[in-house]
């Protein structure tokens, strides 16, 4: 167990360091998966051993290292593809559109277009030259789009999905330059520190700290954690949470991720800048960024099976 954790940690850190610049909340939302996912990815991580420098506490954790990993790997060839595709578009634009669209389609087969655009955004962070180049490209691109539209006017054929999607994203990026430069707000937080106490209890050391970073009442998070884990527990004198049962850090991480998805990030715009209000027995999530307000599920522990010794319980009650 201990080895497992030790192995798990450095990879996490590694990823953290690399991916600080990226935005994760959406991936966190997309995720919701088990630790299986995380394990697989961490297994294929390339250079873990260097990261064992014990800055456990200082490092910030991204909520979802897995998705980004994948994205990063795919990035390089994708931008190339994109550029080549763009070039092709430019070249062939005058002659005939049919051919190059097929090319584009083929290239895109293995990857969603959405991802591609995301990668484009990210690659911009790489270096300034690329940024400039891409900006140029984009302007040209826009002209291209216009050209295309004019050619479409004449030809009376249907637009392909790719064309429309590209066009939509071009317009979007043109109208919101902030978003295009990948300056989305990232949501980074420290990893939960989970320590075993004896054989039967687990301590969640930085519980209150995590509550403050999430801007949530400790009681609310406590209720959620205990309901999800199906155990009992309490906050002790030095503001750590003691949970009954044995839990590992990644398990707690999973539950936290689910909490953040449900009760912290805005369901509309995914911004973590939200307020949780109680209104007539219902909890409402008010977003500070987009102003949306929606109700969230109440925390219910549901059915709890009897796990302690029945004889002991009977002795207690009788």
């Amino acid at each position: 167990m201990a080895e497992d954790e030790a192995f798990f940690d450095p990879t996490v850190k590694k990823k953290k360091k690399k991916k600080k610049a990226t935005f994760d909340v959406d991936a966190a939302l997309a995720e919701g998966n088990d630790n299986l996912d995380g394990n697989v990815i961490s297994g294929e991580n390339e250079s873990a051993p260097t990261a064992e420098d014990g800055d456990d506490n200082n490092a910030d954790i991204d909520l979802d290292f897995t998705k980004q990993k994948k994205k990063k790997k795919k990035k390089p060839f994708n931008t190339d593809d994109l550029e080549s595709a763009l070039n092709e578009v430019k070249d062939d634009n005058a002659t005939n559109d049919g051919g190059n669209q097929e090319d584009e389609l083929i290239e895109d087969d293995f990857d969603l277009d959405f991802n591609k655009l995301k990668k484009k955004k990210k690659s911009k962070k790489k270096d300034l030259d690329e940024i400039m180049a891409e900006v140029d490209e984009k302007t040209e691109d826009k002209e291209n789009v216009d050209d295309n539209s004019t050619t479409w006017l004449g030809s009376d054929r249907d637009y392909t999905y790719e064309e429309l999607l590209n066009r939509a994203f071009e317009i979007m990026r043109y109208k919101n330059p902030d978003m295009a430069s990948g300056k989305k707000q990232k949501f980074v937080m420290r990893p939960p520190q989970v320590v075993k106490i004896g054989a039967k209890k687990t301590s969640f050391a930085n519980f209150t700290e995590i509550c403050t970073t999430l801007h949530r009442q400790p009681k609310h998070l406590l209720d959620f954690l205990l309901a999800e884990l199906g155990t009992s527990g309490s906050v002790d004198g030095n503001s750590q949470l003691i949970i009954k049962g044995r839990f590992q850090q990644k398990q707690i991480e999973n539950v936290l991720r689910r909490y953040i998805k449900e009760y912290v990030t805005c369901h509309t715009c995914r911004s973590p800048d939200t307020i949780l209000q109680k209104d007539t027995r219902l909890f409402f999530l008010q977003c500070e960024t987009c102003g949306s307000r929606c109700s969230v599920a109440s925390i219910k522990s549901g059915f709890q099976a009897v796990t302690s010794k029945r004889a002991a319980m009977r002795a207690k009650t009788a």
């Binding site: 590992q248 219910k300 796990t307």
Partner: protein, 110 residues
Amino acid sequence: MSIQNLNTFDPFADASKGADDDVQDGLVHIRIQQRNGRKTLTTVQGLSSEYDLKKIVRACKKEFACNGTVIEHPEYGEVLQLQGDQRENICQWLTKAGLAKPDQLKVHGF
């Protein structure tokens, strides 16, 4: 052609139907609980009472090679209880058997 206004309408029809699964949207909650040592229990709450839970648990026991039982709960109705961590298994099995759609399943726990 019938006139709709003259039809009798029972406003409590769906209320009485949805009473036994505690949640309004018919979610099936799959939870895990730790027992002593590395042992765990999986509980399945919210399956429709139209199904015969005893038959379901019999099939599950055979399929997952674990023991299990049906527990009658005053608030939550009949709850399936299986030994061990059967969350993945039960999710797949319920969808395969067509007892619940994947979006109706809600898996709790770590």
